[in-house]
Amino acid sequence: MSRETDPLVVGRVVGDVLDPFARSVALSVRYGSREVANGREFKPSQVVNQPRVDVGGNDLRTFYTLVMVDPDAPSPSNPTLREYLHWLVTDIPATTGSSFGQETMCYENPRPSSGIHRLVFVLFQQLGRGTVFAPVWRQNFNTREFAELYNLGSPVAAVYYNCQREAGSGGRRMYLFQN
């Protein structure tokens, strides 16, 4: 049995949020000077403000959509709000960044209360400019359905980080009994 080494698969991002896909466009997400690498941990205090996102590609006439979701809301053992939409930026021209796109759903900083959450960034290529619209609610967002609805196809890039309460103890519960 060949062991799977793609962190997106091992971390179950491919599975819980996305279907398997092939990366084709560069995506760089940075909170301050810290670069988001798969599985890296960030504290809520480090992700208060929206990150700087740079997108690859080569033709300025190609537009991308950036989705940021939390599939472990409100808690990874009980993700009834999966997925929670934190940020939605559309019409990002290739080779530029998130600041050049439309902030269709403004950045809401993650404040996980229980457990260790994954925060996933997904980049899609749009068919054309102005073809993607925000949903009504943030909770119970479904990235797969969203992509199908707006003809976004397969993701072209994705990256995720982990986040827990500021004074987190690694996801351990403080109380004993839980139904």
Partner: protein
Amino acid sequence: MASQGGGGGCDGQHSQTQGLSRQGSLYNMTLNEVQNHLGEPLHSMNLDDLLKTVFAAEANQLPGVDLDIPLDQYASSSGLHRQGSITMPQELSKKTVDEVWRDIQQGKKKGEELQRSGHERQTTLGEMTLEDFLVKAGVVAEGIAKDGNDMIGNVDPVGNADLISGTQDFTRGTSWLRQFQQTATMDQQIHGQQSLMGAYMPSRPLPQPLGAGTGPMFEAVFPEGQINISSPTMGAFSDPQTPGRKRGGSEDVAEKLAERRQKRMIKNRESAARSRARKQAYTNELENKVSRLEEENERLKKQKELDRVLFAVPLPEPRYQLRRTSSAPF
């Protein structure tokens, strides 16, 4: 996390039921036949040894149908499904076949609830089928259930708890499964079962949402396993709703406690699996990054070397040099 629950939770159960379903033909053999097949006396063997030899025989018999392709990532190890096919309480494995048989006979005298067909009333050990023997010994959960809401019987469903978490679409799955299980039980041939399972395999390899895929998937692939689970757990769930049962109230409470314990165990297992996945994912990411950087480093070094050779500029000679061309005496 339901998908993960189903996956993580099902690894114990999946291996167990996979073992059962594969060994369908063996289980229907009587112990006498097993003994002949193995060429060894069974009576004084430990249950541990018995199962090991049974597995060894089974391994030679059946070609390995690799049923755990999609659930690979959930199974803790590929080897596990062979050895862990049957989970046994510690004490049982130490007992010999003889002792267990004595217990079974004593249990029968106490007038325990009896299962379905008459062939279970075996008077001699040798005539009992392997399946029934193991069931009576409390090693495995109940076998093929012909009717829906069966009683749990005298056996604690071992590893049963694992599936509870994965059964989010369990209730709508079970009615479909009951129909399926009836066809499965009627078709006792292992090949029939294997082809049924085989028919479901092709739907798997496609990039399906694994969350949705795992639920119906392992229901499809492990009809017997689900049968094992559905009857006991349906029995457990329907208990509180049917008043006036034979058992007293204290037993219900004990059951609820057991349920809660099982649920907690499942959740704990899921959490542990998530934790392992998290750690492994980060390690993989770092390893990938390191190898990428190493490659780039090599590339850049070579490039630098190349540049050095190609674009080497010879030192220019000084244009004016003071030279003594002649020395005059004056």
